[in-house]
Symmetry: C2
Subunit: 447 residues, 2 copies
């Protein structure tokens, strides 16, 4: 019988990060990572397989990182967790553990639409063979419909359109694409860009049925219209993969369907931790359950879970929600709550938006417009969130904002923020967007 | 007699930002900005006049920003401050004020070197005509020597070399260029790049004399060697311009020579505030006087001073020191203390350096190496500083780090930091450099 001190189940962002972190904090403990896949895809890179990077093989997490960190790898299916005797049943035999980390991830959501199982309808699976097959079928396709206009949907649509020139239509149920991440004015900017690149967007549109004989032929919408399609990609989110945990009797959240964990990432069994898409999340803002699932949340949770395995030292502050996307030369990032979300949750939200060049003087080469919107709670002045669009530096501006949010800075704090600025790299210190937007918001708070 | 509620003396980064901020916080107050210059240069952009942007005219702060913010402008020389009756004597007559903000800036340091006043020796003055003359003389020069290998010196050297191909030599007294901002390994990287671009660096070299008849002809070093020069640029720093304040009897710091201010940016006269290069600074780390002078510090202080004019609401946390530079495709940023500085000041410093691609997968276009070093206090785990090199995104990575420093985050906090990541914009969430470096440092702390 095989034995390891620490066993991690799952080899994607959460599992890999948990195993690396466990080794860093407990180098004397034997650490085993069990995963189902021969090869592991970089989750956020999946859309880019279909354009920019060209193949699943160019979007893999190299296993060398396991060796380098002294992590043993086993490719196996875990059948069950025996919690009485800390024993796993796997396709490769029994494995005893001292501490177990569940990083079993998520499974693509398949809404109960008629025709959803027709050939030619694909979900987004983190599986090399599945995606290779999708790529092959894509070659033969003429009309592609992406259902779901979130990040993944937009990125898939743009990559396919860019690389193949096929007719690509995105169907989004909400009035705007990306509306779970951005306020309307940012969504509109991205929609205009995406449309200008030749993609058709059908917003406020609900899919009624997917139709076809041997293969998908069209997507029928609620308004009676139809869209020709010989390939459909479903990008409508994912749900936690908790079968193994549930079968082991671990507590599962009734609202989220995710494995219940406390702020230390421990499950209802003190020897078992969970992190990433399979683990229950609560919001940094107010503490209600959160359905956000991002690789960067998963890795943060993994670092908490693994560091706590033999002595609690880290607590999860809750999910802030920080992410970014990029189409053509436009990058957009978001952190925390949008203004709409903040209002919906009951905050008295005050916002300010500034725009200006991201170089100074504006005549410096590469200067591009940056637009930044910050959202604050009116009475406390605490930052609740922000959105940015600009060039590639927007991806790190949003991380500076994330640090402000995680420290619960107020608008006054941000107004005094000491930034580094440089003509060739950033906006002017006189008009640095974070600081300027905070000042503009203060003017609206009436405090 | 002219009268304004708020008078700001000085029109560069600090003065302009103070006036804008005063208008934002006190829109009912009449605000007058008095400056000496017809046109105001973007201070950080000055080196780029000699290459990238081509002329002083392309590096101006447009006066439209004054109009837009309802700020009155007067071009005048202020002769004296009458503190008894709140009255300024100026070349345009007397002006009464209710509150006064001094933003008189700094003057280039001129070390007492033999020959320093020879024709052909230039300091770096924020003056359009002076720089136009420098630019003209540069055209005729063959051998250019830049004395001082700090940011400004390196940026001048690279811009002149890049635009004109002239022989450019940088003379630096310390063993490495940029050593006031970076630890040795970062300095070396920049030095290698600068040398590879055709610039000669003479480090550990002290200038003994500048020689010539009617014009500079050579620079003589302490080791007996000489460097041919028909143009010399002095980039050895600047000292506070406090003549007006000193003549008015305001308290001046004995160590710094700068106008004494408290944390609210008030001088020894409750109606007079000071900010920017002329104002005394204390370090965020330990509170000792600081000689750092940066436009981004100046603007932060200006926002504090102006907001406090009619009721104190903001306190200066002290100077963190955040800045960045860029040569060719390499950007380097620094925030807070370097490891050497931290040790010199008596901290038990622990550092960790990580490097990796700034995209994921590494096959994404535009992927470049990012190197990040973080410095922590060993016992508390509090972040003391960090340095980064990479592509243009380094300019904002350093701002994310600045937010961590200003919030006095610990390595544990940063290890749990929730970042936004994206294949086309940032490093992978599994190896995001801020987080990874914090984890590596924790491993060395032995806590």
């Amino acid at each position: 019988m095989k034995k390891a001190d620490i066993v991690v189940i799952g080899g994607s962002a959460a599992g890999l990060t948990a195993a690396i972190t466990a080794r860093r904090h407990y180098p004397e403990k034997k650490t085993l990572l069990i995963r189902r896949e021969d090869q592991v895809l970089i989750p956020c890179g999946i859309p880019y397989i279909f354009g920019t990077v060209g193949s699943p093989e160019n979007n893999l997490i190299p296993d060398a990182v396991l060796d380098k960190n002294g992590i043993e790898l086993m490719i196996a299916e875990v059948a069950s967790i025996g919690r009485e005797d800390n024993m796993l049943e796997t396709s490769e035999g029994e494995i005893a553990y001292e501490r177990l980390i569940l990083a079993t991830g998520s499974l693509p959501t398949k809404p109960p639409i008629q025709g959803i199982d027709l050939p030619g309808v694909f979900t987004i699976q983190k599986d090399v063979d599945y995606l290779r097959n999708l790529q092959k079928q894509l070659e033969a396709a003429t009309n592609v419909v992406v259902i779901g206009g979130g990040f993944i949907g937009i990125e898939f649509a743009d990559e396919i359109n860019k690389a193949t020139g096929k007719n690509v239509t995105v169907v989004e149920i909400a009035p705007h694409c990306l509306s779970l991440a951005y306020d309307e004015e940012f969504c509109v900017e991205m929609e205009e860009l995406v449309r200008s690149r030749g993609i058709t967007l059908r917003t406020s549109s609900k899919v009624k049925a997917i139709k076809g004989q041997d293969n998908v032929e069209e997507v029928a919408l609620d308004d009676g219209s139809t869209i020709k399609a010989d390939l459909v990609i479903l990008g409508v989110g994912a749900g936690p993969n908790v079968e193994l945990a549930a079968n082991a009797g671990l507590q599962i959240g009734t609202q989220t369907g995710a494995i219940t964990v406390d702020r230390t990432m421990r499950t209802s069994d003190g020897n078992i931790y969970a992190c990433g898409d399979c683990a229950k999340k609560i919001s940094f803002f107010g503490g209600a359950p959160s359905n956000l699932r991002l690789a960067s949340i998963a890795t943060s949770e993994a670092r908490i879970a693994a560091a706590n395995l033999y002595g609690l030292r880290r607590e999860n502050i809750g999910t802030v929600g920080v992410w970014s996307t990029s189409v053509g030369n436009l990058a957009m990032g978001t952190a925390g709550l949008t203004e709409d979300m903040a209002r919906d949750r009951g905050y008295c939200a005050v916002s300010a938006t500034v725009e200006g060049p991201n170089r100074h003087p504006g005549k410096m080469p590469g200067a591009a417009k940056t637009v930044l919107k910050l959202v604050f709670e009116q009475h406390s002045g605490v930052i609740l969130g922000g959105q940015v669009m600009g060039d590639a530096t927007a991806g790190e501006i949003i991380n500076a904002l994330s640090a402000c949010i995680q420290s619960r800075m107020t608008a006054e704090d941000i107004a005094m923020f000491q930034t580094g600025t440089h003509p060739a790299l950033t906006a002017s210190p006189i008009a640095y967007p974070l600081v300027n937007a905070a000042e503009m918001a203060i003017g609206k708070m009436g405090n």
